[in-house]
Each structure stands twice: as C-alpha cells, then as structure tokens.
Amino acid sequence: MAELAKIDFEPLVRSAEHIQAENGEAALGYWQDAWIRLKRDKVAMLGLGTIIFLLIVAIFGPMLSSVSYADQTLAAANQGPSAAHWFGTDNLGRDLFIRVLYGARISLSIGIVASLLNFLIGVTYGGIAGFMGGRVDRIMMNIVDVLYSIPVLLYVILLMVVLKPGLTNIFIALGIGYWLQMARIVRGQILSMKEQEFVLAARTIGASRRRILIKHLIPNAIGAIVVTLSLCIPDAIFTEAFLSFIGLGVSAPMASWGVLASEGVTSLKAYPFQLFFPAIAISVTMLAFNFLSDGLRDVLDPKMRR
C-alpha cells in the first residue's frame, strides 16, 4: 500500500485562471444555436446560398470581365444569347450579362444600405419610444402613425422628384421611408420586455438607462429586428427597381435591374430576352431573401425555442 502523505489530503486550490482554462468548451451561445437550427432548414439555406452567390458574383464578376458595363459595340446591337454574350446585348450593343452583374451591385448595395439606415433609425427611435414610455412614447409613435398613413412609395417618389434621381438620393429616400415598420416592432418588443424581472433586476443593481437599453432590451429584441431587416432588403430592392423602371432611379449609363427591365420593356416584342434576364435576377433575389427571412423568423423567435 502506498504511503499517504499529509499533502495528499489538502484541498486542491482552484485558481480563476485554472477554471477559465477548463471553461474552454463553453456552452452553445444564442447565435451558435440559431445557426445549427438554421442549417436544418433547407429552404432557408438555399436562400442564404443564393444570396452569398449573388454577392460574390456582384463583387467579382465585373472585375473579371474585359468589357465594362458601359462599353458600346453598335455593330453587335440586339444580339440574342450566345457564347460571346451569355445574356445577349442591348440596343446599344452593351453586354447584358455584365450589365446584369453590375445591376446586382447597385441593387444589393441599395438593399444593404436601406436596411442599415432602417436598423439605425428604426431601432434607436423605437427603442427610445418604448423605453421612455408615457408621453414621450405617445408623441413619438403618433408621429410614426402619421408618416405611416402616407404610402411609402408615394413619398419616395415625391422625394426623388425633389432630390433628382441618383444613387445617393435613392439611399436617402429609402432611409427616410423604411424605418417606420422597424420602429414599431422594436417599440412593441421593448414595451413588452421592460417590466420583466430581469430588467427590474438590472435597475436594482444600478444599471443606467443607456445600459439597460443596450445590454438588456435590444439584445433580446434582436430576433425580431433581424427578421424585419431581412424582409426590408427585398422590399428596398424592389422599390429601387420600380423607381428606375419609371425613370426616377439611377441614371444611364449606370444599370440597376430596374433600369435594365425598363429598357427591356421597350423592345419586348422583338427581343424578349432583354427583359427576361433582369426580371429573373430580381425575382431570384427577392425569393432568396424571403426564404432566408422565413427561416430566420422560425429560428430566432424566442417562442419557437425548445
């Protein structure tokens, strides 16, 4: 039998570093868990894959091509799809494939910028209204209600008339118009959460209002925020396409999908492919974002968790 020394019976001292080292395999975080469940949703993953593919193609596609979206070859005008021009050419002999790729850049960046503005303005506004409550909330939400009663498209159009068509001005118009929905949703979420005990607990330990809003309330509303954002992106893309279609969007020779579709319509009978390809691009993008946001809603909704 082995000799036992007194030291064998001393308790092991566990230092903070020691424990931290053992904690290496931390439990699944919220996002990891959400990701695992999103991966099970085939349709949402298809949407996500399509969006990533579109982003890569939009960023790198035009770089790899020798022709630019504005290069005209009048001799090769209105050609159908071929090995040289995959999507054919338009009435000025510009390669439609490159123009659709370039259009993806504009359309996707409009979607992303609109949703960023939406996020910043809507979450701040709704967060403050919901958190302050009382009179502040009433006044702030009444303003939203008034703005909401005007169709977004109407005053985006009016703004575009005032601001003159152009990419920056589309950003501004969409930024002004699209945060209302977000503000309402965030305000509702915050209102329902702020009397919950974990918020009261944060107050009793002396957390400032700012801290409660940023660390406790908004992180718990993030599911609804992400879903609203992913629904806002296709909406913004579509609005831009529509604005360009009626001639209030980006100006030539820049090509957004809306511009391309609008040009295609003029020669629809003779060269239907000129409308077909940009229309397909718009539809596929919208569908992909809608699939993804549906999946995100299922995954991030706290009520759906376990």
Partner: protein
C-alpha cells in the same frame, strides 16, 4: 435591543389605473396605502398576505424601483429614494420568477459580474472573474458553469444565480420577493436553507415576502401581515402563530395545512373576494369579509395599536391584547 437597519414610514404607492380623455387620473389604485415597519439588523421580517395585497409593490417601492407616492424609507437613519438616491449598494433584491429574472442573452458570469462592472469594484479582469467564482461557490454552484447561459439551468439553480447577483456588491439588506413560490417544494427548502446560511455567514438582513405561511414561520423572526395595502398585524413569529389577534391573521393561519389526518381543526372560510384596491371599503378594510365585523368597523378605520412588542390594527382587540370577539 437591536438597532433598526431599515425604517419604513407611512409608505404609499398609488398607481393611476385609468385616465380620462385629457390624461388626468380618473381612478387611482392604492396598491400600498400607508405601510410602516422597521427591520432590525440581522433579522428576517416576513411579509405575508394574499395575492394582490401589495406585498411585492411594498418591496419594490422600498428598494426604489417605484417612486413612493408618499412616505419615507430610512436606511441606518439615512433617508433613501429622495432625489434619486438609489439604494443599490445597500439594498438588493431577489425576484420571484427564476425564469424571467435572468437576461437570457447573457452568460451567468456576466449576469453576476454586471453589478461589479457598474460599481467598478475590481481592477483587473482576473479580479472580476475571481469574485464571480467566489460568488458562485458561495451559493453552491460550480464555478465552471460561469460561461453557460441561464436556459441551461434548473429553476433552483437559476434562483441561486439571482442570489449570487444580489450578493455581488455586498448589500446589507436583501428583499426577497417571493423567492421560492415558483420552485418545487423540495427545491424551496434548499433555497431557504441557503438564504439562512448566507444570513448567518454574511450578517444579512432580509425582508422576506411570501404567501407560504409555513415557510415564513421557518425563516422569519417577525412577521407582518398585509391586507389590501395596509399592515393589519405585526408581531414576533412565535406570538403571531401562537395567538393571532387580527381576524384576518386567524383566517390565514387556519389555512395552513397540518400533516395530521386526525386533525379536525376548523378552517375559517373568508367570504367573498379581495375588494378592489381602486375602491377600498370604508372603515376597516377587512370589514367586508370579517366574520366578526360590527358597526364601528364599517364606519371608522382602526388605528395601529401597540400591545407590548406587537402591533395590530383592529377595533375588536383592546389595549391589553384581548380579543373582544368570539373565537371558534
């Protein structure tokens, strides 16, 4: 005699239940309507009463979550809650619902560390983590669980996390707002024993809000009974359970189940519902349900009588503590 660590004087908390078209208050809900008590250093004061009688509101107003409508709270002789003097370093709170009281997006380590962050009580990250681990140990949790999220714990464990958070900045008083009523009975005993252990080790003072009278008897030295926003009786636990003076206290105590099949103790059934605190009855608030109510009870509001070490607000108890009504 031990000094009073916390004194609550004539505390009132009224909520506006309804506003008219112009935003002026139309109906006022008197959740807490003139409550006075004190808690001595190191003791546990139980606060009991049925649902909706204002127990939790009292606790929340004392700690400053609600602005009191009237009345003062003194901590160690110093007035609290005036001009935003939040009591967070002296008074902390444990909440009722272990599932709602922890932010689901924060790890346990961050939840417990948050009061430390807010009050800047550490110099380095190691120091902070060391304190978090110490607190987890103190409440009987494994420090290795600091990186987990609240949903991975059971109700009892979550309540321990809530306790650890309340202890983080060494408060003197902890308000326990029905800390055990959402837990299984077997877990209730664990949590209550943990609270007693912490009280002995750290010299804490508790305001223990509950509706489980047996548990209150076990943990408190003194008990205050609330009915419809007012305290009707306040006495040492033994006195109160041996000889309840107020008819309402009697009715409450008769409702405690006794684990004895031969026990034929008669239960006092109270008639009717708790009246609305928006429109409380005239006179004694208990008169609508009191089996012994007389004319005076319906006309005049009873004042708090001090009888030796206990207090009771009832017309039917004389100044020597004799009950002037027939007992079953």
């Amino acid at each position: 005699m031990a000094e009073n660590l916390l004194e609550v004087k004539n505390l009132k908390k009224h909520f506006v239940a309804e506003r008219n078209f112009w935003g002026k208050p139309k109906a006022i809900l008197k959740a807490v309507d003139g409550v006075s008590f004190d808690i001595r250093k190191g003791e546990t004061l139980g606060l009991v009463g049925e649902s909706g009688c204002g127990k939790s509101t009292t606790g929340r107003t004392v700690i400053g979550l609600y602005e009191p409508t009237e009345g003062e709270v003194y901590f160690d002789g110093e007035k609290l809650n005036s001009d935003g003097n939040f009591a967070d370093e002296k008074i902390q709170m444990i909440f009722q619902d272990p599932y709602a009281c922890l932010n689901p997006r924060m790890t346990v380590g961050d939840i417990i560390g948050e009061p430390l962050d807010i009050h800047h009580v550490y110099n380095s990250k190691q120091e902070r983590m060391a304190r978090v681990y110490e607190l987890l140990n103190l409440v009987g949790l494994n420090p290795e669980q600091a990186n987990r999220f609240p949903h991975e714990f059971s109700g009892g464990q979550r309540q321990r996390i809530g306790i650890a958070r309340a202890l983080a900045i060494n408060p003197k008083i902890i308000i326990c707002d029905e800390p055990i009523s959402a837990l299984d009975v077997s877990i209730q005993a664990q949590v209550v024993n943990l609270l007693s252990k912490l009280q002995r080790e750290l010299g804490l003072t508790y305001l223990f809000i509950a509706h489980d009278l047996a548990m209150v008897r076990y943990i408190s030295q003194r008990v205050a009974v609330m009915y419809l926003g007012k305290i009707v009786e306040l006495a040492a636990t033994e006195d109160l359970y041996e000889l309840p003076l107020h008819p309402y206290t009697q009715a409450l105590l008769s409702a405690i189940p006794v684990p004895d099949p031969d026990d034929k103790q008669e239960r006092i059934h109270l008639e009717g519902e708790l009246p609305s605190p928006v429109n409380p009855p005239q006179g004694c608030r208990f008169c609508t349900r009191c089996p012994y109510a007389r004319d005076i009870c319906r006309e005049q509001e009873p004042v708090m009588k001090t009888i030796g070490s206990r207090q009771v607000a009832c017309h039917l108890v004389d100044k020597d503590g004799k009950r002037l009504y027939a007992m079953n």
